[in-house]
Symmetry: C2
Subunit: 280 residues, 2 copies
């Protein structure tokens, strides 16, 4: 494959690119490729805040958990990220991260916050209790053509297995919100914590399946737990992940989902949860 200078860096790496401006302080910018409706794709924002910790000179260990709170819409253009180690223990480290942008009055506003735990992986006990669901291999599932939508859809290659968005927005209830697919970055890219983080935010809103109505929605907060070290990520390579999400409760303006991301070999690399707001 011949690459122009411009495209020699993967679009995800460009989206999470941060230029240090001090210890734990960085400048970044939104990218068109990961643009969503009124801000960047939340998965790219989540990966960017994790990146601020990964690049911090005092960081110890690998990501164990990440909670991202989507406080305000990130505007097109530059942003500042500040990451601070709140507490460093022998085998875990706790981080607080903020993403800021100047508003129309020139005042800095917090658009996103995150807490991150990094830790040392020890021992070799490894049991997957929530196992990879029965599903046809990705090669046996047709590539899903996403007709049109926000830019960032093109950053993923998707083979829908179960629970695709309703074909008709007729207000009927699909009865459950289970969504399953094979999924990877497009173009494909070796898995790391950044792409795992972004991919965990891929799912369309579960309420659209329970209402067959495109009610306005947005993620309020998202938490991802990592069950992978470098060896597990390397083993997953640039192959498809099996991604699954299901809503648990829809209650007066907010609903949650619980999600899992497995490698083709059945390693449960990440478990992830979100709560969304929705308008009726």
């Amino acid at each position: 494959m011949s690459l122009s200078d411009e495209s020699q860096i993967h679009s995800l790496d460009r989206a999470v690119q941060l230029t240090p401006t001090g210890e734990g302080e960085y400048l970044g910018a939104t990218t068109d490729l990961y643009w969503n409706v009124i801000g960047p794709f939340g998965g790219a924002t989540a990966a960017t805040l994790l990146q601020a910790v990964l690049r911090h000179p005092k960081r110890l260990g690998a990501p164990v958990s990440l909670t991202v709170n989507f406080a305000g819409p990130v505007a097109k253009g530059a942003f500042t990220v500040r990451a601070r180690a709140v507490r460093t223990n022998r085998s875990t480290q706790h981080w607080y991260v903020e993403q800021l942008q100047a508003n129309a009055q020139g005042q800095f506003e917090v658009q996103t916050t995150a807490t991150v735990v990094t830790g040392a992986r020890r021992g070799d006990f490894n049991v997957v209790e929530n196992t990879l669901p029965q599903a046809p291999a990705p090669e046996d599932v047709p590539l899903t053509q996403i007709p049109r939508g926000p830019n960032w859809f093109a950053c993923y290659e998707l083979r829908a297995v179960k629970g695709a968005p309703p074909r008709q927005w007729n207000g009927s209830d699909a009865g459950d919100s289970l969504n399953q697919m094979w999924l990877r970055d497009a173009p494909s890219r070796p898995l790391d914590y950044l792409s795992l983080t972004a991919t965990a935010d891929f799912f369309y809103p579960r309420i659209w399946r329970r209402r067959a109505t495109q009610v306005p929605v947005g993620t309020v907060t998202m938490t991802t737990y990592f069950h992978a070290d470098e060896a597990a990520l390397t083993a997953a390579g640039d192959d498809y992940l099996f991604a699954q999400a299901r809503g648990q409760a829809f209650f007066k303006g907010f609903f949650d989902h619980s999600a899992q991301l497995w490698s083709r070999q059945g390693a449960l690399l990440a478990t992830s949860h979100q709560i969304f707001y929705f308008k009726e």
Copy 2:
């Protein structure tokens, strides 16, 4: 029931008691009743940090989500809690909270951090997709006698349904880590966000069921999503909650669990997740 002056306040309310020392700054203290092994019961700490937001004069709306990061062991005695509204929107508000204590050198250290989202509940769409499991009524399940353990065990009344701790610590694998029970505060207490938060941390470590070995463990971070308004909490009253937790992945020193708390009537009041460290 005749109450002495000392006991006229419920033990949970005493544990989460905060005295304001400034806007969003409070003094609190650990209590013996909720003491665990090397610090207070994490559920009481989680409820205390939520309380700092609930009591804040600028708080808008009710709890939607709470992430608590257990950064260091809280020592017996006084602590400071600081809660700050990072961003206030029309219908959601984002909070950052820290719990601090002076160390032996007199320096303040962060023991716990939290992010909280509060929000306005709107509309009446209400669907429970993860429904209350089939189980005998609490009246038909014998009261579980917890033989001995940390003080805080006595703060709960428990009727074990499935997945009790191993009777023999013989290193065998129970095959799954599903744990189900009817559970409420002891003495019983009308449900609110504080007791719901604390109760969501009740479960014993899932790895003890997969290994039948009391390996050292601790919660690293815990996230709870609330699917309840005041009316739903009032409807649950002081009755039992059906509490369920199950591990998804155990990987090299850390494991997660996913938990649900239903009212007897089947309202899924909270979904909750944790990741623990463990030593082999």
